[in-house]
């Protein structure tokens, strides 16, 4: 694509957020909407700024839970994907459940995880863990299976051990699929941590959203929504940057 075409596509996307915020601000002010119905973005930002230590703590807690679970889920997911690719019987036994888990609200098990492990960081991290674990395992396996058999055969002819083939060929080839799953896993982990916080936690974004709802504090609620969105986007950006670092040979489209 040539430069003007890129600009024509990117410009509206870059302008969308500020334009939306401006329109929102103008209509709230122009129509004199009460902040109890819909607060203006400036009011929301002022609220965040005024209570920034509280909000920073909430974002930090939720992010910690989600990232802890996501990292563990990714490691376990890749490991079990590799295990599945090694032992065909294991794959045939358990993969159907892994696939089915993505079509059902396994997040509802979160309630039981809270019963088991209490209100602390551990239970939310566990929810984030099992939500991100399934897609990563499935995509690791799909990625490894996608490696052409001739390439594996070639390496084997040169005397490469199964471990070398895994580390040098199969895992690198599976990286794009793995990263796709990690990106999905990140948003699932964030949602899992937030939902886990609804069951009686004392800090975190889920708590901000829940107390704002119970106390009808609209500005506070919008601050929670905005920060949740920003946290999600931040996770996404970090993972995309990691992907560019780790899987740098992959051509970006």
């Amino acid at each position: 694509m040539d430069a003007p075409a890129v600009r024509a596509r990117l410009l509206p996307q870059l302008l969308a957020l500020p334009a939306l915020l401006l329109l929102w601000e103008a209509s709230v002010r122009g129509l004199a909407v009460s902040p109890d119905k819909l607060p203006a973005p400036s009011t929301v930002l002022a609220t965040i700024w005024a209570a920034h230590t509280i909000f920073a703590q909430a974002v930090g807690t939720t992010l910690y839970e989600a990232v802890l679970g996501l990292v563990a889920g990714t490691l376990f997911g890749v490991a079990s994907g590799v295990l599945f690719s090694r032992f065909r019987l294991l794959e045939r036994m358990f993969l159907p459940y892994f696939v089915a888990s993505q079509a059902v609200p396994i997040i509802a098990f979160g309630a039981i995880i809270i019963l088991w492990f209490g209100n602390g960081v551990v239970s939310k991290a566990l929810i984030a863990f099992y939500l991100s674990f399934f897609p990563v395992a499935v995509n690791t396996l799909v990625g490894i299976h996608g490696v052409p058999a001739e390439q594996v055969g070639l390496l084997r002819t040169f005397g490469a051990s199964p471990l070398t083939i895994l580390l040098r060929l199969q895992l690198p080839a599976a990286l794009p699929a793995i990263f796709t799953a990690v990106r999905l896993g990140a948003s699932l982990a964030l949602v899992g941590a937030i939902v886990g916080e609804w069951f009686g936690a004392t800090r975190g974004l889920g708590v901000v959203l829940l107390t704002a709802m119970y106390e009808y504090r609209m500005t506070y609620l919008w601050a929670g929504i905005l920060l949740t969105g920003l946290t999600g986007v931040a996770l996404f950006v970090v993972i995309a940057a990691l992907q560019r670092r780790i899987a740098w040979w992959q051509v970006e489209t």
Binding site: Q13, R92, Y97, P105, A108, L115, M213, Y216, G232
Partner: protein, 267 residues
């Protein structure tokens, strides 16, 4: 050479006769896994002397589900109605918006980024807002499910509608076809596989979102049943509600997948 053929043929026939039928071959490993999981479950209860508020016997969960079947069926119905109404509304909305965007690209440039910004926030974060505006009844769940589903369907439908070969469009236009005809005869059929894959993903989102929002605030539904039973420390009830939500989603997902396969036979 012919010797070899003669000797191998009977063996192959014999092997085919002995081989298990295909449905059985793909069925027994997951069944074995289910058996192992069940054994581990019961084994854990027996070995660690787990009380039923930590881990109930699977039979207990089924028993409670059977005992409460009226309540459970009512809650399942509420959740299914909420998610399916949102699903149908959202699918129509996503499809209509996609068609409008394809017909009027200028509108897409302005409105699609707004759609993307709104949907970059996890949908559950809007839950409290929906409940404040629309109450704890079904309306708040249906509206959020509609928005979430419409986004998934819109993105998939746009990709599908754009995938049409431009030369095929030009060809039809040369024959004097209007934009509308091109859309109905060419673009929509070509986009069907992408649209249906969006519809399949979206049905999963719809159920999950409805259950999660019911946990946040509701007066009926499976998510509400899960939340209520954990607050009342009725753990076996919580398990049975979780199991019901898993089963209901699985059934809906399989039905939608089956419909998709039947209707998009050309993909």
């Amino acid at each position: 050479m012919s010797d070899a053929t003669v000797t191998t043929t009977p063996t192959r026939v014999a092997m085919q006769r002995r081989a298990t039928p295909r449905w059985l071959a793909s069925f027994w490993p997951p069944a074995l896994a289910a058996l192992l999981i069940f054994a581990a479950w019961e084994g854990a209860i027996w070995w660690f002397h787990l009380p039923n508020f930590v881990l109930p016997h699977p039979a207990e969960i089924v028993g409670v589900a059977v005992q409460n079947h009226e309540q459970l069926a009512a809650d399942t119905a509420v959740t299914v109605v909420e998610s399916l109404s949102g699903y149908v509304l959202g699918s129509i909305m996503g499809l209509v918006v996609a068609i409008i965007f394809v017909l009027i690209p200028r509108l897409e440039h302005v409105l699609l980024p707004v759609y993307v910004v709104v949907n970059s926030v996890p949908m559950i974060a809007y839950g409290p807002l929906a409940i404040i505006y629309l109450g704890i009844g079904s309306a708040s769940k249906i509206v959020l499910v509609t928005i979430a589903v419409s986004y998934t369907v819109l993105i998939n439908a746009l990709a599908g509608l754009r995938s049409t070969d431009p030369r095929a469009i030009d060809l039809l236009r040369t024959f004097g076809a209007t934009r509308g005809t091109v859309l109905v005869k060419l673009r929509l059929p070509a986009a069907m596989p992408a649209i249906f894959s969006g519809l399949r993903v979206a049905v999963v989102h719809a159920m999950i979102l409805a259950v999660v929002l019911e946990m946040l605030g509701a007066n009926a539904g499976l998510g509400w049943a899960v939340y209520k039973s954990t607050q009342m420390m009725s753990f076996v009830e919580a398990w049975s509600a979780v199991a019901a939500s898993v089963l209901a989603s699985l059934v809906i997902y399989l039905v939608v997948s089956w419909v998709a396969r039947r209707f998009v036979w050309w993909s």
